[in-house]
Amino acid sequence: MDVSTALQLLFSGLSIGAIYALVALALVIPFKASGVLNFGQGQMVTLGAYIALTLSQAGLPYYAVVPLTLLIAGLAGMAIERVFIRRLVRAPEFTIVIATFALGLMVQDAIRLHWQDNDFPLPVPFSTDPWRFGSVRVNPVFVWIVLATVVLVVVLAAFFRHSRAGKAMRAVSQNQEAARLMGISVEGVFSATWAIGTAIGALAGILFAPVTGINPGIGDLIIKAFVAAVIGGFSSLPGAVVGGLALGEIETFSGALAGSTLKNVSAFVVLILMLLVRPYGLFGTAGARRV
């Protein structure tokens, strides 16, 4: 393999890895705060893509579609937490797993009923002709994915580190009772983290749409996000990002070197190796909680 091919693979691995990282973050953030793992998170990615599609077909420009979609998806996440999850917090873990799973299937089936299994494009406001750097070709869509992910990760890091609300979310994830004793509304934090989770999932859907087209299966990448989150330790946000990027690279390179069959199983090979060697992931600690 020559250098320019390697660079090109490195970059496409980075951009697919960025998508995995986003969805892994969308899983881990509400999980850390509320202890509930959203098994319907993949369909939140799908939902985000279709919200964007609807807004786009209604004639809104891309730069309005993106923030509006995040807002609508965030509100949907908040509603799901309020209406379903909050009633289940004391239920057995398996019940919650099934409930989030079922909710995801309902969303997906509703989408399938309305739009069928068609593929829709999501137009982007820039030319998708590849940029050439010598013999390396870079797709602007991938550049946009990486850029948007970097911005999101930086904003999230600053939010959790410096803002009052972000610190309250960390406090709730570390000790719920103590958080209540500080006057923090734990229920409010739960809804907020669900809003953030679904909004990030929707962003992943928007960013991924130009690569695959919008279809009801776009959220199936959730499996990869799970693997990424496990690699990262499932309780660490930097871990989710590193896990996502690592998985993107591993998949891309194994696909290029050994064909697409290996590409598809590589995620699971990595997962199993990881669980054997470091059961708590790269960044995880033994104190993992529910589900």
């Binding site: 610190k167 006057g183 923090i184």
Partner: protein, 235 residues
């Protein structure tokens, strides 16, 4: 200031507290004594709203608070330093204190809180960028108390602040408790360490199996041989 009347509370179906009444006067320091499992922690949790009250009432400044949620009760100035401290272990000392000032209405109030806590516990100023989980037991207890003092509580409930600490550290913590009380904050102090509490408290209540077994000033309780031997383990 705090008035608990016939309080019944517990976990699951069994009642741990079976009709407890006590009062803490404004500016007072009341001891809450009793053996392991007597219900001291349960009482503190029921007062601060972490645990639902089944019957009876809790009034703070005459206002019933037993139907309020924990985060609402805090806003009234009734603060609970729980047994086991319940710090945020992966946050720094400073961030833990900031959480204590979560409801502050101005930056000035937060700054005042830091000044006050750093005056009472200078070690917390020194350690401000350390993670709370990395502190020694005594420092963790100081942080737990400091966190509750950030917004000038009117009543502070301390649950076993001396547990597991060396005598010198306990001296230091009790000195601060005395000082906070002298500065006007009412205190309800749950402890197994009867001797120290009786020396400090204006009056004390002894819990036994979820009921008040005896109450009175330190002198009164110590003068009663039955109380001394059965409940206080003093001879």
């Amino acid at each position: 200031m705090l008035e608990v009347t016939d309080l019944v509370a517990g976990y699951g179906r069994s009642a741990v507290l079976r009709g407890v009444s006590l009062r803490v006067p404004a500016g007072g320091l009341v001891g809450l004594l009793g053996p392991n499992g007597a219900g001291k922690t349960t009482l503190a949790r029921a007062i601060s709203g972490l645990l639902a009250c089944r019957s009876g009432s809790v009034r703070f400044d005459g206002r019933p608070v037993h139907r309020l949620r924990a985060q609402e009760i805090v806003g009234l100035g009734l603060l609970h330093v729980p047994q086991g401290r319940l710090l945020f272990p992966e946050m720094t000392v400073q961030e833990n204190l900031e959480m204590g000032a979560y409801r502050a209405d101005s930056r000035a109030a937060v700054q005042q809180g830091f000044d006050r806590v750093h005056t009472l516990f200078p070690i917390l100023a020194e350690r401000r960028f350390q993670l709370a989980g990395a502190l020694s037991g005594g420092q963790q207890q100081m942080l737990a108390i400091g966190r509750a003092l950030m917004l000038r509580p009117r009543l502070l409930m301390l649950d076993e602040p001396s547990i597991g600490l060396a005598p010198l550290v306990i001296d230091e913590i009790f000195a601060v408790i005395r000082r906070i009380n002298a500065e006007g904050t009412a205190i309800l102090l749950a402890e197994q360490n009867a001797r120290r509490v009786l020396a400090l408290a204006g009056s004390s209540v002894i819990l036994e199996s979820g009921r008040v077994a005896a109450e009175g000033t330190g002198a009164q309780l110590l003068a009663d041989d039955l109380v001394r031997e059965t409940y206080l383990g003093l001879h």
